[in-house]
Amino acid sequence: MANIWVYSEVNEGRPRSIALELLSKARDLGTVDAVALGPGAREAAAELGAHGASRVLVNEDPAFAEYLAEPATDCLAALAGKGAPDLILFGFTSDSREVAGRLAARLGVGLISNAMDVVAADGSFRVTVPYFGGAKVATYRSNTSPAIVLVRPKSFEASEIGGQAEVVEIDAAIGEGSRRARIVERREEAAEQVKLEDARVVVSGGRGLGGPENFHLVEELAAALGGAAGASRAIVDAGWVPYAMQVGQTGKTVRPGVYIAAGISGAMQHTVGMKSAKVIVAINKDAEAPILKMADLGVVGDALKILPRLTDAVKARKGQ
């Protein structure tokens, strides 16, 4: 049986949802331990156990939450020296990927990033990764032990199996010089609306909207539908909307019931983040736009004219 670790970020006593997704997958691949570090790690253990962790390795040293990457890297490296895991799974999030990168460099082992799936393959692992912007799928085989794999959120469905994990206190093992990149302040910017990843309907806008002054049309339709607004990388890079709204390979992956793409051409960078939506509607002036070739309904027309009329129609139907 393979020995697998799932690294779980902890937020206010709860594991990040990606950790639960990873456990739901990992429990079919071998014996799974979750590693939870920082304040709230013990409290998170029950949920990790319910999703398939047989043990939860915890340490609540506040340094794990206060300093970027290095304390967690130290702890995992010390642990890997003793525990000899075959596979360490991380979620592809901004915090986890930094820990995974440092850990791979320190241990001198391979790291496969941006993975969609992991399967066992006679003593090692096969990992599938989107390639060429998602038009292709590359299958890698890991040659190192442990293999470190970063998995895209929403690649697996989280499901409980009702287990109970043994909680094991581990050594923090934080090195003398590892308290260096210190978080001195956290500021929240956007008011919390419907979360993009959890929304049943996502309406996203791209360059075809013409300018940032028209993005409100996307937000109004999203609000009328009780959904969330998203964006293509092009307009995030151009500074129209914050990064948190970006859908795509370097942004969020969404799987809503309906995805409406307005003025987005459908570069692969974007489509890899939304192609698993149940229903895709695309509005684009250009009849040749690639997004129309993957949409369930493609409307060739001007998003600036269609969006406000659609918002009105939705409001009228809902009696708003």
Binding site: L68, S94, A313, V314
Partner: protein, 253 residues
């Protein structure tokens, strides 16, 4: 302050891309300096203007990647280092980080600036690996960088907003597109870049060997593609009517 900015040459994100029959990315296409790196170069130049020092560009790639370095030099960077070796073709993130680390260590910079991730690979693995191999802290996803003596403070972009993160030099900073508007190279800058030094390093110069690949590519196949559905031409009402029907049947109204 001595600043190293890592740069990469990538297929033009705005150009058509194609695959060779063996599924490697066609190399005869237009290649450019990674647009994400322009932000790092700009930030490096602004810090130099404020605090003095030198901006050195370090890249790994084929001989042609010299053009990407040249572009950064014409923006105003002082000199470049190109790591190029046939043995490095197809290098994975760890080998790339090892090669960059070896070249950068010799420069003893106080600040290393990287893009958050490259446009073509988009895995963002090289910066944390590089920080580890250099033995320095990483201040990441910066949309603002301030330097005060040895202290470096960044505003780190997060899902919810941002964090203020402090560290001290030497350190590695990754920057986002929000950090600065990259300048255009002036004619004077382009002329000056021609005489700026670009040092070429081989694997042997760096004292590292290629090692065994940490993973093997077993296959590359077409992803499951969605089939095109209905396409309608909007005439002022049909677009909205059809979308409403789709929303209705998806039960989101």
């Amino acid at each position: 302050m001595k600043i190293v900015v890592t740069v990469k040459q990538v297929p033009d994100p705005n150009g058509a891309q194609a695959l060779e029959p063996d599924n490697t990315i066609a190399r005869d296409r237009e290649v450019v300096l990674d647009p994400g790196d322009e932000y790092g170069i700009e930030e490096g130049l602004q810090l130099k203007e404020k605090h003095g020092g030198e901006v050195v560009l370090v890249s790994m790639g084929p001989e042609k990647a010299r053009d990407a370095i040249r572009k950064g030099l014409s923006m105003g960077a002082d000199r470049g280092i190109l790591i190029t070796d046939e043995q490095l073709a197809g290098a994975d993130a760890l080998l790339t980080a090892r090669a960059l680390a070896a070249a950068i260590k010799a420069e003893k910079p106080e600040l290393v600036i990287c893009a958050t991730e490259s446009y073509d690979g988009s895995t963002g693995m090289v910066p944390p690996m590089l920080a580890e191999l250099l033995g320095v802290p990483q201040l990441t996803f910066a949309k603002q960088v301030e330097v005060d003596g040895q202290q470096v403070t960044v505003h780190r972009q997060t899902e919810e907003g941002y964090q203020v993160v402090e560290g001290s030099a030497p350190c590695l900073v990754t920057v986002t597109a929000g950090i600065a508007e990259p300048r255009y190279a002036s004619l004077k800058g382009i002329m000056a870049a021609r005489s700026k030094e670009v040092k070429v390093l081989k694997l042997g110069d760096l004292g590292i060997d290629r090692g065994q690949p940490a993973e093997t590519v077993e296959s590359i196949a077409d992803a499951d593609a969605r089939e095109a559905g209905e396409i309608v031409e909007d005439d002022g009402s049909v677009g909205v009517d059809r979308i409403m029907a789709v929303l209705q049947s998806a039960k989101v109204l």
